[in-house]
């Protein structure tokens, strides 16, 4: 090892010490530790929660987990989530663009959208049985429905809030109508469109879990519900954790894609 190598390594460790081992990290870890501690105390020292598994029991359940089985359930749920999400994107994005871009489209479409929107998506579960015979289609419809509104609303909002000077400037540069949409309006609305997609993917996870709990057709929601019926509560909590993790990962994926799409926003 040469001297410069040594210097580089020591610099590396200095950086690590400075950026990783510091009070901020300690406090962050403490937050998690305190949460687990509060959980344990509530379970062990209060009557109200004594039936709930401790963190330790949940951790122990991790080793009894049938990995192959759980991955199949994750995969099933994920397919439903992504299916609904992409259908929501394919239908919601153009609709949001139309409502945001054209006043006539706004008057024609927006009131109906606004009328249906306040109904919580879960309230649609009974009706979906009438739409589709196949359970798989019913579930995907529900995830689609969950994704639809956040995408439409944020696309619409993003487009109507574009700084007026940008399209005006573009007009002065002689841009065509189509060019205006593709090269000015959509890029300008992109940040909010991605916000909509992030909200949407969160709601699709909510919908898939609710639908699977009722439908008994596999998936993580079903998996959690099944362990509830056989009273294996450590597994229930584990399942909840996995659902949360999947949701978070999907959200991160959208962030990563967003950063690739909008290089100009993360230059610092």
């Amino acid at each position: 090892m040469s001297v410069s190598d040594l210097k580089a390594t020591s610099l590396f460790w200095k950086q690590v010490r400075k950026n990783v081992i510091n009070w901020t990290t300690v406090r962050r870890i403490m937050s998690v530790v305190l949460f687990l501690l509060a959980w344990t105390i509530l379970v062990q020292f209060t009557g109200q929660f004594h039936q709930i598994p401790t963190p330790k029991a949940v951790f122990a359940a991790l080793f009894q987990l049938d990995l192959g089985g759980i991955f199949i359930e994750i995969f099933r749920s994920l397919l439903r989530v992504l299916g609904g999400f992409f259908i929501g994107l394919i239908i919601g994005l153009p609709l949001g663009v139309a409502i945001g871009y054209s006043r006539i489209a706004n008057y024609l479409i927006f009131p109906a959208v606004e009328m249906v929107r306040p109904i919580p998506p879960i309230a649609w579960i009974p009706l979906t049985v009438l739409f589709f015979i196949e359970i798989e289609s019913q579930i995907v419809f529900l995830t689609f429905y969950g994704a639809f509104f956040p995408i439409v609303y944020n696309t619409m909002g993003g487009i109507s809030e574009v700084d007026i000077r940008l399209p005006r400037a573009a007009m002065s540069f002689g841009v065509s109508k189509l060019g205006m949409l593709w090269k000015v309006i959509l890029p300008a609305a992109m940040p909010q469109i991605f916000t909509g997609m992030k909200v949407a993917i969160g709601i699709t996870w909510l919908m898939v879990v609710a639908a699977e709990m009722i439908a008994s057709k596999g998936g993580l929601g079903y998996w959690v519900w099944y362990h509830h019926t056989v009273m294996e509560y450590p597994m229930v909590i584990l399942g909840m954790g996995i659902i949360g993790l999947c949701g978070a990962l999907c959200s991160v994926c959208i962030d990563v894609i967003g950063k690739r799409f909008m290089k100009w926003r993360n230059i610092f």
């Binding site: 007009m171 002689g174 100009w264």
Partner: protein, 279 residues
């Protein structure tokens, strides 16, 4: 400044424009008439909020007059057109495009020149405004002054018949502003466009103008038009010349008269304003 085609003459003919707010209707412009001569630099000056931006919007075609006509080369303005180009107050660069791509936007949209020619022009203009090392940066990575310079390049590459500058250097610090004026002077003296420059700074107005149009406070009308006969090419040092000072005194006097009238009209403490302006 020569203008071979003799194009880009803007005529404001008896224009009236009112703006409706929720309850009231404000007359922003009342029977306003003036001519922007082709190939020259005309500067509009007036108190802030006197409707200067409205004039720009009318010529650009973003707004329509309620009465009267806005003619460019004898043809009434019906809507925005790339022959009339606006540089806005504060930056309106596309934040998702690099400096270079911003400049290339116009030529690629109109396709009046080939990509190679546009590229050559863009690089040349960016060099001229001192941004050759920042071509690949996004607007957010540039300082305020750099953004304005990029904007100048983005406008000039289109060789518009009429350049409409709506207080483009507003909000810049004094040093940067002076530098911008010098960049701009150099670019203007090479261009064949008609320039209409709106400002509320007397110094800037006289430094840049061939012809100075002084507007009244709301509703705006032409108070006075004045030829600025300072020699070209100009530099900031001209601000020390005797002729400049004479012109400035004239302009100040006219503006002062207007300010007094405005304050009397609105019934404010006009004595304070008068004595304040005299010192």
């Amino acid at each position: 400044m020569v203008n071979p085609n003799n194009k880009g003459e803007v005529i404001f003919e008896d224009v009236t424009r009112a703006v409706q707010t929720k309850k009231t209707e404000t007359i922003v412009m009342d029977h306003c008439s003036f001519v922007v001569e082709s190939g020259k630099m005309t500067v509009l000056i007036g108190p802030s909020g006197c409707g200067k931006t409205t004039i720009i919007n009318l010529i650009a075609g973003y707004e329509k007059p309620d009465r009267g006509k806005v003619l460019v080369d004898g043809v009434p303005v019906t809507g925005p057109d790339w022959e009339r180009l606006v540089v806005f107050q504060e930056t309106a660069l596309f934040p998702w495009l690099t400096c270079y791509d911003n400049v290339m936007f116009g030529p690629l949209a109109t396709k009046v020149m080939s990509r190679e020619e546009a590229d050559e022009q863009a690089v040349m203009l960016l060099e001229k405004v001192g941004l050759q090392d920042f071509m690949d940066k996004y607007p957010m990575q540039l300082s305020g002054g750099m953004q304005r310079r990029a904007e100048l390049a983005r406008a000039l590459i289109n060789r518009p018949t009429v350049m409409l500058m709506d207080e483009p250097f507003r909000g810049l610090d004094a040093m940067t502003r002076e530098l911008m004026q010098e960049y701009y002077l150099r670019l203007v003296e090479e261009s064949h466009s008609t320039h209409l420059f709106v400002t509320s700074e007397i110094e800037e107005a006289i430094l840049l103008a061939d012809k100075l149009i002084i507007l009244t406070d709301k509703p705006s009308r032409v108070k006075h038009a004045l030829d600025i006969d300072l020699p070209r090419p100009r530099e900031a040092s001209i601000l020390m010349s005797k002729r400049y000072l004479e012109l400035k005194a004239t302009v100040l006097e006219i503006l002062h008269e207007e300010a007094v009238k405005a304050s009397k009209a609105s019934g404010k403490a006009d004595i304070d304003i008068e004595s304040g302006l005299r010192t």
